[in-house]
């Protein structure tokens, strides 16, 4: 496989080419003091020269002096929202005499190019695919939006303090499949080393007329995710974690974390794999029509588990346990992988800075020490 070089000055051409081929380019862009993913039209909308500082409960966009375009870590948004949309109408309901007519809301076909997808985010998409497409029933709306997606990955060189992708095996190098993978080099001439992973990716490289990368650039590029991995200090012992947590569902630590947890649902909203939804009903003012809308829900909402008589999980302790053990334990049994990709969003965006790696470690290791005594 050849490896190519894309000068920073020509990144805009790549975006223009994708748009000319009919892709809606979804990439990083600064908004409201954060770096989020949304449709972009040119490289001017990218977070040029911006990085971030993250720690439990803290997030700041900060300037970088190297002009890097992908010099930041995971922000509050993930690519999830492009396919598993936060809110949508499912269908309209029309009363026709005494019968009801259900008119489904079509999903507009859309070609999407994800620009700048990190290893964690690509892994998260594959997790979502298994949940929403790979199961007995397919989520048709997700499947339709996901059907024509071009992946332009970025091998991460800028992890934050809350990242732990290396523990989860999802980064910093972006695992395939992707169509293109970029590594950003800012020393000397600002450029990207480009790997192709598909015929479409190769066609794009050819159309742009890129030159092959120098041997030295290939070496520099290969080092970027390696150096990034060395900078990641947060760890989660993922091997056998699910089984260890499952044995400790009554661990007192769940009650302790519940004293801090606000049950605000932030972690579930920023998580790139949380997929829970609810369906809400709205009636027209004249009473003749109604509609049903689906929106993201969260297992931290008390009504989430409501059955007649009250919620199944009234306590924050039970709701935190549900979220954490689903992500790290029961997800394996249900979907054959962890539900956590180590992006660290839930740690950064928790208003009280609860750290899933710390909680999981405390709860899972208690089981082993109990056994030992």
């Amino acid at each position: 496989m050849d490896i190519w070089s894309l000068p920073r000055s020509r990144l805009g051409e790549l975006i223009a080419l994708l748009r000319a081929r009919g892709y809606d380019v979804v990439g990083p862009t600064p908004r409201d003091g954060a770096i989020v993913y949304d449709s972009i039209e040119s490289d001017a909308e990218l977070p040029v020269g911006l990085g971030d500082e993250q720690s439990p409960g803290q997030y700041r966009v900060v300037p970088r002096d190297d002009g890097a375009v992908f010099g930041f870590a995971a922000g509050p948004g993930s690519f999830k929202r492009a396919f598993h949309v936060p809110e949508e109408r499912l269908y309209r309901v029309q009363r026709e005499g005494k019968t009801l007519r259900f008119v489904p809301e079509p999903v507009a076909p859309r070609k999407v190019a994800l620009l700048g997808a990190r290893g964690c985010d690509l892994s998260a998409l594959r997790v979502l695919d298994r949940v929403l497409e790979g199961d007995r029933y397919r989520d048709e709306r997700y499947a339709a939006r996901r059907s024509e997606v071009l992946l332009i990955a970025v091998h991460c060189g800028s992890p934050s303090s809350t990242c732990f992708c290396s523990s989860m095996g999802t980064g910093p190098r972006a695992g395939g499949p992707w169509d293109l993978a970029l590594t950003e080099l800012t020393s000397g001439e600002h450029r990207f080393v480009v790997e192709t992973g598909s015929p479409i990716g190769l066609a794009l490289v050819r159309e742009l007329g890129l030159l092959t990368a120098s041997t030295l650039d290939k070496i520099h590029a290969a080092k970027v995710p390696v150096v990034a991995a060395q900078r990641i200090t947060r760890r989660l012992e993922a091997d056998g974690l699910g089984a260890r947590l499952a044995k400790n569902l009554d661990h007192p630590r769940f009650a302790q974390v519940a004293e801090r947890c606000l049950a605000c649902a932030n972690c579930t909203q920023v998580c790139p794999t949380c997929f829970c939804t609810t369906i809400e009903d709205f009636t027209d003012l004249d009473g003749a029509g109604a509609e049903r809308r689906r929106r993201w829900d969260s297992c931290f909402n008390p009504e989430f588990s409501y059955i007649h008589g009250g919620p199944v999980r009234p306590s924050t302790r039970a709701r935190y346990r549900q979220w954490m053990t689903h992500k790290l334990s029961s997800w394996h049994e249900q979907f054959g992988s962890s539900g956590c990709v180590g992006c660290g969003r839930c740690i950064t965006w928790c208003p009280v800075g609860i750290d899933i790696t710390e909680e999981a470690r405390a709860i899972a290791s208690a089981g082993t020490s109990e056994k030992a005594t």
């Binding site: 499912l90 199961d135 048709e140 109604a290 999980r313 049994e333």
Partner: protein, 274 residues
């Protein structure tokens, strides 16, 4: 592939008031060529503008022209369904979920243990077994209701009890001056049946606490836990395992349940607020 979330309109052909708060309606499945389901499965029912609720199918699987549900009016949507009349349209999608192991029970004794409205999801299994009665050993039914006025399907229960090939016992938590039957929890009835425990299949549906105690009692009598089945209940929005609401341990009740072998459900039932 069709969208599992999309509803279809079905017409109510008959409404029966079972008890103070419980009613049964029949839907006309003929225009869609019948509605096939397995005993124990459920549908999502939609009341216009109010929402959807998961409701077990309570009719006869051998009569696909009629789709029957028994519903307890406890919330806005079920009360909205209660207000509907013959001729009105209801939104329906399904059937969803795992069935009772009726085929596995062939050649064995069967004990059906129902509490309250838990009799509704068991009725299709009872119909199914009665339709080929000779394929099963003993058929025992233990049913517990809160009061005599809360007994579901009273005429049908009378009929079943009159059969020589069915052993049926009813108990109530609180009797009234006219009540001459058993009083107390349904668990206490189980010892009265003459079963061959090692080759008995047990089907349980009712409040979780009832199923916990009844299954313990059955295990005590020698019924293997692998042949005890329970039907679980959780909040449901989608019915197909994509909304997350019905999670119970490593499973979604809507697609991995509602009917579980006790060996899977028991470890989960014992954990509070799971």
């Amino acid at each position: 592939m069709t969208d599992a979330l999309l509803l279809e309109s079905m017409e109510i052909t008959r409404v029966r008031h079972e008890t103070r708060d419980t009613f049964t309606f029949d839907l006309d499945a003929r225009p869609r060529g019948g509605f096939r389901f397995a005993p124990g499965q459920f549908n999502m029912l939609y009341a216009f503008g109010l929402g959807e609720v998961p409701i077990s199918i309570s009719g006869d699987p051998l009569k696909p022209a009629v789709l029957t549900h028994t519903i307890r009016a406890v919330g806005p949507t079920t009360r909205g369904l209660e207000a509907l009349k013959k001729g009105d349209g209801v939104g329906v999608r399904g059937p969803f979920g795992t069935p009772w192991p009726v085929d596995e029970a062939q050649g064995k004794d069967v004990i059906v243990v129902a509490g309250g409205i838990g009799l509704a999801p068991l009725r299709p299994a009872i119909y199914s077994m009665l339709s080929r009665r000779q394929a099963f050993g003993k058929l025992c039914i233990a049913y517990g209701a809160r009061t005599p006025a809360d007994i579901l399907y009273e005429k049908e229960i009378e009929r079943w009890r009159g059969r020589i090939d069915v052993d049926l016992e009813v108990t109530v938590d609180r009797g009234d001056p006219d009540w001459r039957g058993h009083t107390g929890v349904v668990t206490k009835l189980l010892r009265r049946f003459e079963l061959t425990p090692e080759s008995t299949v047990a089907l349980l549906c009712g409040p979780e606490v009832m199923m916990r105690f009844a299954s313990r009692e059955l295990e005590g009598l020698g019924v293997p836990s692998a042949r005890i089945y329970v039907s679980m209940e959780r909040n449901m929005k989608c019915g197909v395992g994509s909304c997350g609401h019905c999670q119970l341990g490593p499973s979604f009740v809507c697609k991995d349940g509602p009917v579980y072998p006790l060996t899977k459900a028991e470890p989960l039932m014992g954990i509070r607020e799971l």
